[in-house]
Structures are given as C-alpha cells and as structure tokens.
Symmetry: C2
Subunit: 386 residues, 2 copies
C-alpha cells in the first residue's frame, strides 16, 4: 500500500424524510442561494419541500444549470452570489448542479483575476462559500467529495478541479428523490458509478486487500442492483437506496487511498462529450472496454482478479479469461441499454483525429495517472470501439 492522506468531513443524512433535518444544518441567518437544474425539482415536489423547510431563512434562486455545466452558466450564478451577499449555497440536483455550485463557491472567494484558472492552471482554492447538497441523482459521488468538472462552451474544453474547500458541509440523500428519474438517468448513474470504481481499482496491484474488496463489493452491488432496477416496473426503495449509497461510496475517496488510480477513460470520454454532447456515462461505457483491451497485458493481474471476483470467471487460459472479463463488462453496459460503439452514435475516424490533435496541441505525451498510455494508444483505444 502507498502512503496517503484521507480527509472527508462531509456529513451524510441518508434516508427518506431526511429533508426535515435540513434547517438544522444551515447556519442561522444564512442568506442562501438555492441552485438547481432544468426545473425537474419543481415538477416532482422537491422544490416545494425545500422552500417549506427553509421558510425562516432568506433564500434566493439560481436555476437552469445544464448537464455538463458550463463556466458561462457559473459566471451568471456568481453574479447573483455577489449581488445578494449570499453566504450559503444549497445545491439541489445531481452531479452537474453540485459541480457547478462547487465551482461558483470557489470562484466567489477567488482572489485572482479569472477563476477559470482554477481549472486551466490548477490555481489553488484557498477558501469557498460554504455549501450543502440535496442529491436527486446518484452517480457522480460529488455529494461526498471535493471534485468538480466544468465545461467552457467557447473553447469546448471540459476540465476538473478538486479541493477540500468545496466539499459539502452536508449532503441529504433520500432514495425517494430518485423515484421520478427517467430510466436513462438511472442507467447513466449506474454506469458512471461503475466506471468511477474501475478507475480507482483496475490498474496495478499494490497489496491493498481492504480497498480492493470494497471496490469489488461496490461493483457487485451496482451489477445486482442495476439489473433489479432494469427489471422493476416501479421504483423500489431498497434498490434505489443501495444504488445511491454505492455511487456515493464509489467516489468519496476511500477506495482510492494508497492505490494506483487511472482516470484514462474519463479523460478520453470528456472529449467525446465536448465534441458531440454525449451523456457522460455513455462516453465512459464506450471508452472503458477500449482501454481494457489496449492495456490487458500490462494490467493483467488486476484484470484477472476483477474477472474472478466480480464476474466469476475462473476457467480457461489467462487470455480467455481476460477477454471474457472485458466482454462481460461491455455486455453489462449494453444490458443496461447503453450503446458502447462509436458508430452507434455516428462517430467515426474524424472525431478520433480531432481528439488526437487536441491532446497533441495540449502537449500531452502520455495519459492517465499511471502515465502508462502513450498518446498513440488513445487512437487504438477509440478504434477498438468504432
């Protein structure tokens, strides 16, 4: 195991009815900006619940945050924060709303000229407006970490930052809040969480049995509960609760302590979203099998462990087991109704060239946290999935 520091002070309030503990978590006399997305919370009743619970507070609103939230949108929100002396942000939504709110929180206290530098130049986040979250879409883990991914419309760049300053003070996770989600978003959430775990688990062994078994436990849960979610005619509370907690535990930092992470699939996937607007989870389902095929010799030990413990693959030569493991993984995404080939999304070699050129322009020679993927391999990874 490698050395590590771990710090995660996010308070989790989990379960039905937890919204009624909200007011007690926010400082008295706070001037709150409630942030949300395209308005689904106004249709499913969550908005009204939040307003009712916060009736003794001064609240403002900033709605309209899009999927793959943009820097441009965040600047609008930032204006509202400054104009109204907001001192608490309450994100009500999924990962996009949370990520945008985190970036606004950091931007509001940013001392430099342009807070885009937090993303483009890794400018340090020295402080942020405190924030809390009410999660409506389990997927990104943003409710229990300090990560945020923001897209700049103008340049079609999708970049990430991470800081403990933007960790939510609390996050309310009520599985019932996911009942009104369209199936597509439920499925995207499962795939997103699945690939998060893989990014932190499937590289090289460092003798980390606790972290490995936690990761495998979350993957097994996502498979079992994901299949149940597909079969269910009506949303089931336990099923949604398990999916929600699996997604949160998948990216709260615990399974990545002391191990060798990857994140190649995300780096490549972000480009597919930037150029074609594909759902984040769909890009991951496309890219991951390509990465695993491309790296199957180097990452053989962990891949075989994954195959055996998660997919139950024990028979055959290593080569047979490796291929089966990757096939099972891709088949699971397809079983959830996700198209895992680029051609199924009308994407071809032209986009591959564009992505290659963009990485070259950025001066990138190797990608992934293990730096074990040469730039030229990105082409092969995407060609495998054509």
């Amino acid at each position: 195991m490698e050395n590590f520091n771990y710090y995660n002070p996010v308070k989790i309030l989990f379960g039905k009815g937890k919204i009624y503990e909200l007011a007690g978590e926010i400082p008295e006399n706070a001037r709150i900006l409630i942030t949300f997305g395209k308005g689904s919370i106004k249709k499913n009743g969550i908005y009204n619940q939040v307003k009712e619970v916060l009736e003794d507070f001064t609240t403002f609103e900033f709605g309209g945050i899009e999927a793959n939230p943009t820097y441009e949108t965040c600047l609008e929100g930032l204006g509202i924060i400054k104009d109204n002396k907001i001192d608490f942000l309450l994100a009500v939504g999924g990962g996009s709303v949370l990520d945008a709110t985190k970036f606004m929180a950091a931007s509001a206290n940013f001392s430099g000229e342009d807070s885009w530098e937090i993303l483009s130049k890794e400018a340090v986040v020295e402080s942020a407006v405190p924030l809390g979250a009410i999660l409506t879409l389990p997927a990104t883990g943003s409710e229990m970490n300090g990560n945020s991914v923001i897209t700049r419309q103008k340049t079609m760049e999708k970049l990430a930052f991470s800081s403990s300053e933007v960790m939510p003070q609390f996050s309310i996770l009520d599985p019932e809040y996911t009942f009104s989600l369209p199936q597509r978003q439920v499925v995207n959430g499962i795939v997103d969480a699945f690939v998060h775990v893989i990014e932190q688990y499937l590289t090289y062994p460092v003798n980390s049995p606790v972290q490995d078994r936690m990761a495998e436990g979350i993957l097994l849960t996502l498979i079992e509960e994901g299949r149940k979610a597909m079969e269910a005619e009506m949303p089931d509370y336990s099923n949604r609760a398990n999916l929600m907690w699996a997604a949160t535990m998948g990216l709260n930092g615990l399974i990545s302590v002391g191990v060798k992470q990857d994140w190649t699939t995300h780096i490549i996937g972000h480009e597919l979203t930037a150029f074609h607007g594909l759902d984040h989870a769909v890009t991951l389902a496309i890219v991951l099998p390509g990465v695993l095929y491309q790296k199957k010799s180097e990452r053989k030990i962990k891949l075989l462990q994954f195959g055996e413990r998660v997919w139950g693959i024990k028979e055959g030569s290593d080569e047979v087991k490796l291929n089966k493991t990757i096939q099972e993984t891709e088949a699971f995404f397809r079983e959830l109704g996700i198209q895992t080939k680029l051609s199924e999304h009308n994407i071809g070699n032209k986009t591959i060239e564009r992505i290659m050129n963009r990485f070259k322009d950025r001066g990138i020679e190797k990608i992934g946290m293990q730096q074990d993927i040469e730039l030229e391999e990105v082409r092969y990874i995407l060609e495998i999935q054509l």
Copy 2:
C-alpha cells in the same frame, strides 16, 4: 437499509514517515499534553521522534496510562491539563491511550460536577479539548471514531461513551510503529478488529449489500493477513499496513451505517475484564462463539452469509453450515493462540453468577442493540464457553 447520519472528519495520515507532517497539523502556539502508556514509546524511539518534530511547541507529558484505562488515571491527567492551561492533547499509543485521552478531553470542558456522569448517565459532551493521535497499536479503531471505554477501579465498572467532539483532529498511522509490538498485542489487535466488524455485521439482514461486502472484505483481510502475521519471522510492512487499515476501517462507522448492530459480545466481555483483568480481545474471543451458538436460529440468515462468503462454507444442511461457521470462527481465534474457553483462564460458574447479578442489579432485562438477548441467555452464552 435503515436511515442514518454519518459524519467523520478525522484526517488520516497513513504510511511510513508520516510523523514528519505532525507539526503542520497542530495549531501554532498550542500548549500540548503528550499522553502515552507504560513507556514502550521511550524504548522504541517514537517518543524521541515526536519530541523532535514538536521542538517548536510547548509540550507537557502524561505517561503511565494503563491497558483498560481507569477513571482514576484520567483524573490525574485532568489535573495536568488544568494546571498547565493545555489546549491540545496528543495521544501516542494504542486504543487505551486514545480512549483515556478522549475522556480527559471531554472532562476538561465538562460543566457538570463529576465527568464520570458522561459514562454513567450519558451526560452530553458539549465540547472537548482538541486532540490528535499517533497510533502504535492497531485494534480498537479509536483513531478514527468518537468512542471511548473507561474503567472505574473503585467499582470495577467498565463503561463507554461516544461523541463527535472527541474525534481526533488527525491520526497518524505508520505501520512501522507496530514493528516493535509483542506478538500477543498484534494478535489481540486482530481479534479485537475482527469482533468489531462482527458486532456491526452479524445480526439481521436489512438489504445492505455495500456495507455487508465491506464488512466481509475486512474480515477476509484480517484472516489472511492475521495468518501471515503469525507465520512471519520478521514484521512485514505490507502485512502490518493492511492489518492497520483493516482495524481502522472496521470501526470508523462506515460498515455500521443503516444496519442492525449488536455489541452483546463487548457488553459481556467487559465484565470478564472488570472481574478478572483479561485482555479485552481475549474476552471477545471467549464470548463471541457463545453468542453465535445461542443466537444461531434467530440470526441464521446473516450467519449463513458470513459462513459462505468469509469461510467458504457452502455444503451441507443449514444446521451443519451454521455449526461449521461458528467452529471456524473459534478455530481462527485459537489458531492465533487465544484460549477461548473460560476454564482455560480458571474462570467458572462463580464468575457467571457475579456477572448475572451485576446485570440484574443494573436493572438490565435484555442486552445488545437488537435487544434480542434475554438476561437468562447471558448465562447460557457463558456456559457454552466454560
């Protein structure tokens, strides 16, 4: 899954050499009381390292904290805190030193007359002197939770309290600091951590696959790494690192969220320590098999799951599998060199009577968090292990 709140702001600094980050974690100008046990840290060099790293701080010392730390000892430390206007406590040791330091931290700020009420009357801990920890003995999980167990010598009572106010601000976990431990303490730590996990896992199913698999992953790690530790001629870094992290993850609150906990084995075990001074872990290894035999019908579902996933027991009738599961568990403790029968410790029916009488005097009718064990069953549990 049941509703829950989870909050754990302890910062973990894990790995060799992490002591050199210590000074940066303590507030400038802090007046620090370094607390420790019977002096092993002076022999193995840890004391000198700590003093060197803290040379710019004003430090005081309180050594001599015993295993199963006493209220009487804590009162002595409390005097030093008050006399010297201490504003930071640094516990250097195992669970006993940490638990005592937590109780001193809470007592120093206690507004009532006698801080024993925190233990005897569940008086609320409104604040505490901030504390940090340097762990030298992985076992109790005290480095990443707000729990503390204190014994009152005069009355031979061993009681526990829990408060987020006494969670360490940080804990340094350097596996090399465990290299000088006697084998008996290594083994005790493994058993202690194992039973902590069982207490949070082995009652009744609530459909909690993430928590269950995490618990099973920690148990499997403790078994595998525990056996390696027994076989090793010299301490191995990876082995000690995995044992250390397993013990911490076993009691930082994560595997118990939303599930039905027990703690019967601890409640009964504490009495064996109080009356006979047995090592805490030894009492757990004695009592747990008795609890599992006594409750094997009611807790059948989780016991069978434990047997299958942890011990690989899949063949035979339920009755056969249940018995095998409990036998394997007790055999593992014995493999580690722990004597699991009361008679092996010269304890007989007289002690059982004393324990029964003490519980009766306290007005206890049922024990355990599930209240599924009648007082009379305590007798059967102990008789099974005579």
